[in-house]
Every structure is written in structure tokens, then in C-alpha cells.
């Protein structure tokens, strides 16, 4: 119950910030609408809704990283976390308390993206539900990156690193906006050594029902999620000791 109380506080802090709502839920929607409008006016297939939507749901998870990193960094920057360290909350409570509230937000963001995509012409299939559920392991990866950054950097640094660097990394190296085959070479090899493109291809495979490819992409995502979460737990415990 202690975890739920702490998680509830974190949910309120995140959802009560209008900027979080604007960027977390609004920005991915703007992207879907804008890129769909572009697609409607060009003769070539650039942003077809069935390829664009899974990409946008993954790109939107960058904001989950920003949410988790910002709340931890702000709590560290104030004495609030120090106060909580003198309560019966354990390290396990803290880590779950920061992680749990963001999973439903990530799912809600994904549901909204798919709802808008349906309005824009995405075919209704049961795979949409599966694609939304597969957001859970991917969101753990992005939340883990947030936990890691929030445990190391200040809230101002987190804005730059998670807000600018991660969104650019995810945008360029995920194949959301363009086919990585077009660039090829080292760029493609680097992209496939990172988890972002695998997360996008996982979602695309699930949505199209091409289940033969899911295993390898899911493995990449889960492997990175585990590594990042272990790193985040160590970083959090270390800063807890330092504080």
C-alpha cells in the first residue's frame, strides 16, 4: 500500500502539469494529424497511417522518459526525497513508485494515438489491442531511461538530455520518419544496435499481424529494458546513499 500511496502522488504530480499533458498527449496527436495531412497531398507513400501510427506511439514514449526523469530529478533537487528517506519507504518502494504511474499514462497515450488513427482511416483489427499491450515492455525501457537520467542529472540537465537528445536519437535512429535502408551503412548498423528501431518494428509487426518478426524485436527491447532498469536501480541506490 505504501507503494500505491507514493505512486498516486507521482501520478498527480505528472498529470497536474499542463505542459506534460500538452507534450505527452498533444504532441503525438499533432504529429499524426500533420503527417497524415502531408501524406494526403503527396503522390508517394511517405506517412501511411498503418506505418506512421506505431512509430508515433513509440516516439511519444520519449515523453514518458521525460516525465520519470523530471519528477525524480526535481524530488532530488528539493529536500522532499530526503524527507521520504527518513520514512519506512524502502528503495524497492521508491523504484516501483516512480515506475508504475507512468505505465498507464503510456497506455493512455497509445490508445489516443490509435483512436485518432482509426478516425484517419486505420483499419479496425484486433491487432490494435495487441499493439497497445506491446507498448508495456517498450514503455519499461523508456521509463528506465528516465529513472537512470533522473537519478544522475539535475532537473535542468534532464530537460536537455531527455527532452532534446533522446527525442532526436529516437527520431533519427528508429525508422519512424524514413526507411533506414535508404541511408544504409554505418547509420543503419548503429540504429539496429539500439532498441528504438526494434521497438518501432515490433509495433509495426504486431499491427500488421506479421508475428514471425516479433520475437527478435521484442528480445532487443526487453534486453535493453533490463540493462537500463538495472543501471537505473544502481544509480538510484547510489544517489540515495550519497544524499
Amino acid at each position: 500500500m505504501r507503494i500505491l500511496t507514493f505512486a498516486g502522488r507521482n501520478t498527480k504530480e505528472i498529470l497536474r502539469d499542463p505542459l506534460n499533458l500538452a507534450f505527452g498527449l498533444g504532441f503525438p496527436l499533432v504529429l499524426i494529424l500533420l503527417l497524415s495531412a502531408i501524406q494526403a497531398n503527396v503522390p508517394v507513400s511517405l506517412f501511411e497511417i498503418e506505418r506512421l501510427t506505431p512509430g508515433i506511439t513509440i516516439f511519444g514514449l520519449c515523453f514518458m522518459t521525460l516525465f520519470s526523469a523530471t519528477i525524480i530529478a526535481k524530488d532530488r533537487g528539493s529536500s522532499f526525497l530526503q524527507r521520504l528517506y527518513t520514512t519506512p519507504l524502502t528503495a524497492f518502494d521508491f523504484i516501483l513508485g516512480y515506475t508504475l504511474p507512468i505505465i498507464p499514462i503510456a497506455l493512455a497515450q497509445s490508445v489516443i494515438c490509435y483512436a485518432v488513427a482509426l478516425i484517419l482511416g486505420l483499419e479496425i483489427t484486433v491487432n490494435i489491442i495487441l499493439a497497445i499491450l506491446f507498448i508495456i515492455p517498450v514503455s519499461l525501457l523508456f521509463i528506465g531511461i528516465g529513472l537512470l537520467c533522473g537519478s544522475i542529472f539535475t532537473d535542468k540537465q534532464v530537460g536537455g538530455i531527455c527532452g532534446a537528445l533522446l527525442t532526436n536519437l529516437c527520431a533519427w535512429l528508429s525508422g519512424i520518419w524514413f526507411d533506414l535502408e535508404l541511408v544504409g551503412g554505418a547509420f543503419k548498423r548503429v540504429a539496429y544496435a539500439l532498441p528504438f528501431v526494434h521497438a518501432v518494428e515490433l509495433e509495426r509487426s504486431v499491427l500488421t499481424g506479421d508475428f514471425s518478426d516479433i520475437g527478435i524485436h521484442l528480445m532487443w527491447v526487453i534486453l535493453y529494458a533490463i540493462i537500463v532498469l538495472i543501471g537505473a536501480i544502481f544509480a538510484f541506490l547510489r544517489q540515495m546513499k550519497v544524499q
Binding site: T5, R9, F80, T86
Partner: protein, 242 residues
């Protein structure tokens, strides 16, 4: 009966000695002040006693529980109001109080009763629905103390509770602290001589991590051969012959 027994407590960093062999005991219900100039070791002492920092030597027992081996039990007994105001800014005043109740395992009617009692004690009713981040410094400090008190701690640490407050807000907080005297053991750190003198049963003066004197304000003045507590403090910290 002693609430806190400190035995040879030390905290050494690489090239600094923050606390050096501190030994003293504090009685249950006592309001005990730690005084000293910057870097004297007051906050480090509080951090060690509240299990936020590990000592490099010695131990302390809080109501019989060691800070080294029974930190979970210690955390059930204490509450801390840190030097900086430690509140959740996005939550309302009431939600902040409910949060601490929930973390300490209070639910339902018990939680409601505690929130109501603390709201009345610290006169928070009129701001109960306001977001904590929008409150003035004085009200935030008041809320911070309410959050420390709501779990009914046996030992309360107040680290510079009136720092940066205006005269009225400080006076009001003094009244609140006075009202707690005898009910719980309070360890207060402060830079303000008049605050320590007005509120404390006993005062310990520290310098460079060491305890210089520990007694009532009257006895400290007598030992320094002066009528002013501030002069006594200056004489003792400077190491003048007393």
C-alpha cells in the same frame, strides 16, 4: 528516561571531519537545540541520527534502537523537517498530509482523523485545498512541520525550522514548537541564539564537529560569565577563557 543516547559518534569525509566523537544523551520530552556556526556539524549529526548518513564511527540509540543495526525501527519512531522546505508542490496541503499518512500505513478513518487534527493544530484549514507549491515560505514551513508531526513521531528533528521566515511567521512557529514541548522529544538546529534560548530545555554548542558545551541556557551564560546568551556563544566558540 533517555530518548537518544549518542556514543562517540563520528563522520569523517576524505579530508574533512564533520562530526568528531560526539557523545551526549537527550531525555524523553526534552527540547534540545544544537547550535554552531556553519560547518559545526549540526546538520550532519541530524542526518546520522535520522539514518540519512552512516557514521564512520560510534553509534546512537534512539529509544533503544541503534542507527547502525535497527534503522528500520528508528525510521518508525522519528520524523524530520529538513532545512529546505520538503513538500510535494503539485499536491494540495491536504494531499501532502494524506501522503505522509499513507506512507506510514494509516488508512481510512484513522488517516482522516490525523489529517483533521494536524490541520487544526497548525491552522491549515483555510489553505487545505491550495497547492503546496503556491504557498508562501511561512505556510510551506508550517506544512512541512505538519507533515513531520502527522505520523505521531516519538522524536522530531527540526533542522533550521525558521530560516528565512519573517518575524510574524517565526513567532507563530515558535508557538507551535512550544506547544509540542514535553509531548515529544525535539532536536532543533538553529543559527538564531534567541530561538535556542527561548525554546530549549538544553543547548549543545558545536564547533568543527566537536561538542564544546551542553547545558541549559542559564548555565551556559553562567559558565561564560555573561548575561547575554549571544555573548556566551561567541566566547565559547572563539575559545575565550571562561
Amino acid at each position: 528516561m533517555d530518548a537518544i543516547v549518542i556514543e562517540n559518534l563520528s563522520k569523517h569525509y576524505k579530508d574533512t571531519i564533520a562530526v568528531d566523537g560526539l557523545s551526549l544523551s537527550i531525555k524523553q520530552g526534552e527540547l534540545f537545540s544544537l547550535l554552531g556556526v556553519n560547518g559545526a556539524g549540526k546538520t550532519t549529526t541530524i542526518k546520522m541520527l535520522s539514518c540519512l548518513a552512516s557514521p564512520t564511527g560510534g553509534d546512537a540509540r534512539l529509544l533503544g534502537n541503534s542507527i547502525l543495526t535497527d534503522s528500520a525501527a528508528v525510521k518508525e519512531l522519528i520524523a524530520v523537517s529538513p532545512q529546505e522546505t520538503a513538500i510535494a508542490p503539485g499536491l494540495t496541503v491536504k494531499e501532502n498530509l494524506e501522503l505522509i499518512c499513507g506512507i506510514h500505513g494509516f488508512r481510512g478513518a484513522e488517516k482522516e482523523a490525523k489529517v483533521t487534527r494536524m490541520t487544526e493544530l497548525l491552522d491549515l484549514a483555510k489553505i487545505a485545498k491550495k497547492h503546496a507549491g503556491k504557498l508562501s515560505g511561512g505556510w510551506q514551513r508550517r506544512l512541512s512541520i505538519a507533515m513531520a508531526l502527522i505520523s505521531d513521531p516519538k522524536i522530531l528533528f527540526l533542522d533550521e525550522p525558521t530560516l528565512g521566515l519573517d518575524v510574524i511567521a517565526r513567532s507563530e512557529l515558535w508557538d507551535i514548537i512550544r506547544s509540542l514541548k514535553g509531548k515529544i522529544t525535539i532536536i532543533l538546529t538553529t543559527h538564531y541564539m534567541e530561538e535556542a534560548e527561548a525554546l530549549s530545555d538544553r543547548i549543545a554548542i558545536m564547533k568543527d564537529g566537536r561538542l564544546l558545551i551542553c547545558d541549559t541556557s542559564d548555565s551556559i551564560k553562567k559558565a561564560a560569565n555573561t548575561d547575554s546568551f549571544e555573548n556566551a556563544f561567541i566566547k565559547i566558540v572563539r575559545g575565550d577563557k571562561i
